[in-house]
Every structure is written in C-alpha cells, then in structure tokens.
Assembly symmetry: C2
Homo-oligomer: 466 residues x 2
Amino acid sequence: MNIDAVRDALSHLDLEKSKAAIRAKSRDFFWYSPVLKDRLDGVEADLVVSPRSEAEVIEVLKACYAHDVPVTTRGAGTGNYGQAMPLAGGCVMHLQHMNAVREVHPGRVIVEPGCLLKDLDAECKAQSGQEIRMFSSTWATATIGGFIAGGSGGVGSVHWGNLRDLGNIIRLRVVTMEAEPRILEFRGEELARVSHAYGTNGIITEIEIPLAPAYDWVELFVTLDDFPSASRFALDLARESGILSKLVSVYEAPTAHSYFPRIQPHVTPGSQLIGLMIAPHSMDGFETFLARRGDAKVIWNSQVGGWDRQPGTVFEYGWNHTTLRALRVDPSITYLQVRYGEADPVEQVERIRARLSPEVLQHLEVLRDAGRPIFAGLSLVKFTTEDRLNEIVEIHESEGAMIFNPHRYTLEEGGRQRVDDRQLAFKREADPKGLLNPGKMISWDQPAWSYDRMYAFDRLRRVAAE
Amino acid sequence: MNIDAVRDALSHLDLEKSKAAIRAKSRDFFWYSPVLKDRLDGVEADLVVSPRSEAEVIEVLKACYAHDVPVTTRGAGTGNYGQAMPLAGGCVMHLQHMNAVREVHPGRVIVEPGCLLKDLDAECKAQSGQEIRMFSSTWATATIGGFIAGGSGGVGSVHWGNLRDLGNIIRLRVVTMEAEPRILEFRGEELARVSHAYGTNGIITEIEIPLAPAYDWVELFVTLDDFPSASRFALDLARESGILSKLVSVYEAPTAHSYFPRIQPHVTPGSQLIGLMIAPHSMDGFETFLARRGDAKVIWNSQVGGWDRQPGTVFEYGWNHTTLRALRVDPSITYLQVRYGEADPVEQVERIRARLSPEVLQHLEVLRDAGRPIFAGLSLVKFTTEDRLNEIVEIHESEGAMIFNPHRYTLEEGGRQRVDDRQLAFKREADPKGLLNPGKMISWDQPAWSYDRMYAFDRLRRVAAE
C-alpha cells in the first residue's frame, strides 16, 4: 500500500492534516466493549479524507484501488461494533460533507449518506410534516448512512420493525471499489447486499427511505414495583394497535436509580422504569391503558414537566444510550444485544433474570418482529472476565435467546454467526482486491472459519498513542 | 305513545312527509340475512325527523320522551345487523344534516355524526393530507356516526386494529334521553358505554377520532392457485412491519369468478383472489415480497390499469361488499362474521374449509388484534334453512372460531353473546324510559335471557307494504 501516492493524488480534496484529528476520526464507540477495547485500541488510519460529492468518492476509491490502500468509510462513528475502525490502517473516508436532503415526497425522502439523523428529520418535518420511521438513540450526532450501513433498528422499531425488514429501505445508490468504480442502484432483494454490511462491499452515496408522519411525541417515564409487571406493561402497550407509540423501553431496577442521575431523585432503588414516546392523539388511549394498571405511576410527562432538572429527551435513555449512561457511572459496565422471540417473551426474560440478575440487568426495547411485538435486550452486564462474558452469552442461548454479540468486530460474529452469501458474493464483484473495511467479513478472509472462538484479523494494525 | 303530539311539537323541523320515504328510511341493510329479512321486513317508523343541530336533537328527544315515543337514530342505514331498524315503530332520527367537519388537527379530527366517511376523508385530506384510520366498505354512502355506533372495524384495521381498541376513538359527545336531556363528554373507558351500542343509550352528536397520513394507496388484485397459499400470503404480508397496507382481503375460489363480473375475465373458477391496498412508498417492498412467492400473480394494479372495464376501488370488494356482490348474483347467499384467533389462523381456517367448503366460501380480512395480524371472516354462506345455518355456526365454534352472528338483531347476539354491563348501566342512567332503539338490548328487556334460542322482541311492530 502506497499511502503517499494516495495522499498526493487526493491533495485537492478535504484531507485531514492534524495527527490528533486523524486519530480521533479513526475511532468509533467500540470502547463500550472491554473486549473490543482490548483488541482495537490503537487502531488508526494513515489518512482521513472527506469527499464533497459522489465524484470525489469515486476519486478516492480509484486512487486507493490503484495504490492498494484500504478504505474504511464512516459517518459519525457512533457504532459500537467497531464498524468504522480501520483495522488495517489506510484511508478513512468520512462522508460528513455529503449531507444534502435531495427530495422529500409523501412517504419517502432521498438523502445523501452524511446527513445527520436530526437534520434529516428537521428538513422532512419543515418541508412536509414527516419524519423518518426509525433512528438510533444517537440521532443528534449520527448520520443516516452510518445507520443504514451499521445499524439494525431503534426508536420507531416498536411500530415499523427492523431496519432490514422489507419496506424500511427503498433504494440505495452504491459505488464499487474497482479500477473504474461503477455506480449501481439497488432495490428489493439487492438492498441486503450492502445494508448492514459496514461498507465492506460498496460505498452508499444516496439513500431513499420511507417516511412516517411527524408528531409532537409525548415523552413519559413510568415506574412499577416489580420487573415482570413492567415488562408485561410494555409488551401489552405495544400490543394496543390503536395507541401509536415510537419508543417502549424497560429498565430493570436499580438502573434508573443508579445510572440515571436526573431520574434518581424521582425513584427508589427498587423502581422498575419504563420510557415511552406516545403520539399526542394517542394520549387518551394511553391514559386509559395506564389506569387499568393500578400500580403504574407516571413520574415524567414532557407535556407537564415539573422537574427542577429536566431529564432531556426520553429516547436518549433508550437503545444504546442506556449503556453509555451506565458506563459513565460504572466503567465496569458493558452490555449484550439480545433477542427474546418466544411467544411469551416476558417469561423468557424472567428465566434469564432468575439466572443472571443483578450481574446482568435487563434493559428491554419492544420492537415489532414478524408482525408482533417482541423484546430486544440491550442488557447491562457487570464485566469481570471475557470467560464469564462468554458464559453469560451461553446462558442466554441456552434459554432460547439470540445474541448479537457486541464484543466482536466482524459482521458474522456481531450478527447471526453465519456467512451472508449475498454480501460475500457482492464483495467478490464490487471489491475484488478486498480493500473495503478489511477484517470485518470473516467469510472473505477465512471462508472455513468455524466460529469456535473469537476471530482475530491477522493484519490488525495498532499504533501506540503518542 | 302519542305520535301526533310529537309530530306537532316538531313540525318546525325537517320532518319526512312522504310515506314511501318514511318506509325507505326505516330500513337498513338487514336483508343480507334471510333470517332478519323474515323477522324485520315490514318494520316501519311512524315519523322520520332530521335535526340540523344538537339543539334540534335535544328538541326531538324531549318531545319523544314527553310522549313516550321510541327513537331509533341512524346515519345512512348501511348496517347489516338491523342496527337502525325501528322495531317498535315511533320516531327515526336521521342525522344526515349534522355533517360538519369541525376541526382538523395533526393526528385527529372533530366531526359531526352525519358526515359521510368519504366527505370526512376528503376534508381531512384537503386540509391536512390526513385521512381516517379505518372505515367500512360502505365508505361512499355511510356516515361516521353510524360507523362508530354500529361498526367494529374495516378498511385500515389491518394496521390499526378494531374500532373498539384503545386509541381508535378519542372522544364522543352524547345526549341523553331524559325529560331534560344532558350533554356528556366521554373519553377513555366511558367510550365503551356508547360506541357500538346502536344508539340504545344515548345519541352521539360529536366525534373526535384519530387520523393517519393520507396516501395514494395502490390497489391490487393478486391470484394464487390454492387457498392456504393465498391465506398464508395475506397473513405473511400483514406480518411485514415495514410494508404499510390498508386492506388485505382473501376470497376463496370460485368467488372471484362467480360473483365479481368485472374480475371474471381475468381469472379462472379455481383462482384464489387477494385484494390489497398498499402505500405507494411500500410498493418496492411489496414487489420484493411478491417475487418470493413464485405462484402469486398480480392481475390488477391501479397504477398500471389496462383492463377494458376497470374493477372500481378494491375495498368495495372487501369487508361486507363481498356479500353484497355475491347476493346480486345468487340471492340465496348470506354470510357469517367470524374471528379466527389461533396462533396459526391459516390452519384454523383450513379445518373449517375441510368441513364446510363450498357450502361456506371463505372470505378473510386480515386485521390486527392484540398487536398481531389475525383473520376476520365474512364468509359467504349458501343459505338453505335456519337450522342448517345454526349448525354451521356451531361447527365454527367447535373449531375455536368466534361468531358475531349477523342473523340476530340484538347487541348481545350479534356480539359476544353476553351482557355488556357498561352499556346496560349507562342505559339505566341515560334512557330511563327505555325509549332509545328498543328491542336491541336483551339485557334491558329480559335480564334473565339464556341465549338458548334467537331472541324475539315482544313489541316488534311490522306494517304490511302498501
């Protein structure tokens, strides 16, 4: 790899000059995981470039292809699976300048990948009273391209399901990593080639996604005294087809008291907490639902206010902001991503609580899966050793829960632990030299990998901090 | 009852003068049922009045209360359970003049009860790009008040569930039948007192309901060769959380060929038909879903057209328009309303088909119930005798299906065959003389009724046609 040649070829573009900025822009939020922190700390790019257009993206890809330089593409780098970490060094391509909202139509928007989720929502709302169907809890800082390439769902999934579900992405425009990069337009089945592929097999330069109506969502915190009542409350609420919700989160005690300082004055260590976003015109229905559960108490309602120190937006307690908040208080906390898909997921969670609480504290997000509400878990784990973490994973699997392991940096290990043939086949076609985000697709590097232990990329390059 | 005194007292209002019009306005679509046709043909009001305002509604109620005249309130009279039939004669109060759309807000509308569903949708769309969440297939002719007082769901229920589900009605303004009628505002649990109560315990004078975004829904007909594949297709499509649909109907062969003349040239007698309304921005997702089912063929797409004689709107083949279309071809056809709620409703339907097809032809509507898609059946039944019809009901019940019997004219028999204590308690309070829509609430007339046979109202009054 000839870094200098690439640097020269791209000198007319926005190249990061500061060493500190290059280091910063080589990192994502991988450090939520002590395992990834151990493996990936010190990973650093040789150069960071921020193209302003698809034409400049093609210039970057051509130069790097010619000189065998790896390219790791990123948005804001808010992912937690090391999605945006340039494991083999080389070039980090930052898409922050490609942030235009191109067209807003009834039910859909066309946008460049570097647009922040919050800016995209603001533009859609201003132009048409619409908003995107779902977003990660990093809405304020993350990009839509990063969400599509590295995310799986989030706030809004309680209504619209997983990001990968049919209909939640309409079209992706993709540039290949070849001597002469091609521009492709993917729809339908083709979308699965590059969505949630961490930029390993093509660079997304334009996104078309569906929109939903924008409402002034009412944000609520509700407490209950015991956990199964709280999880049942959340599931039953999501089963109310006439009550439109955007977020239904459950936090096992003492999460609220221990890790949410703004909420602490309003709860006890035993308080089970539920976070909600409800459409304003569904609040009557919600109040009726609530009144049927005598033990549930609303402690925060954004329409009412009344706290000396306001909690901020409720979704910034949910999804992976929960882990972030817990980490700030207790650096030994990490997490797992779990899916509880049994017919009665409340019971399934209780079985795991019986074996693991409080070493593992439940944090549940209700999402719609195959047409019905289930629980995704982003459980808080008190980390001791990697062996114990692996045991905890096995305990979950023995209870029928599926783990998307956030202590692994490959697509396969962070996913369903199997090769995605569509992604692999497209990488063969679109990235023949294997330069895009190297080390993230096991099936490319080691097709016979057996998944019996954590994968270790053999070209991993770490630089000591200065 | 002193009809003449009421007629005099209300002479300044819009009173129907024509005998033929009084007869016409005393009838609803009860004649879909040969059983109800036998019992209710000849039922006729003594007078028909159409108040222009809530104040005039109160005048009507006061006059009728003073002179012990029953009042049966109606919208367009498109119901099929005899909801609007004045069993004891007296006064029919028609709310056609009270049709103002009062306020349209983000997510909700305030409207008078006599507004036609299509006019309400047109106004909401024109003012705000919104539409009502659900409507009956009689959208073009039926009123919102009639839908709330006599309906249970319809086009849109595949997404939003049943009309009675929390959140699908926000507020109802209700006038009582007393010497001095009171005006009440109902929300939350109170809504169940008067929604789907056929106007037996109060008169709805204003309605607040939630809205959804209005889209230019794509209308489709799809055919498959065997019925379980068709019902599975429909259920699986509704389970796709990212594909926004408004109607998913299934029609067992040879319904399409035998009873839908506009569709007949495009199908065979063996064609299983599916009718769909899909959001335009979900069409890519739908096409992807479709391509996974090699045997499913789109025969009509409203965006494409291409038939010499267009089929009209697809929802006018669904819900109870199916029965209407079949009746026009074969007057011996009637129907049943069924709910298939098992975990695998496809299998449940197959068990019933094995015992009853083709005497009973399946017509399924997918609706969301307790958060998951299930089947409502509006099955086409080849009528022979009442005894056989009762046997068919029993066969359904023995297979775990719930029947909402449309061959009965009481709330209880057409519902869950039990007393609704909330409705009864409110009738005691709001209609102490029992003058509102008499004969429709068994628990009022005969609290000890055992439901061992069809209820027969003892004051039923029928008039021979002239």
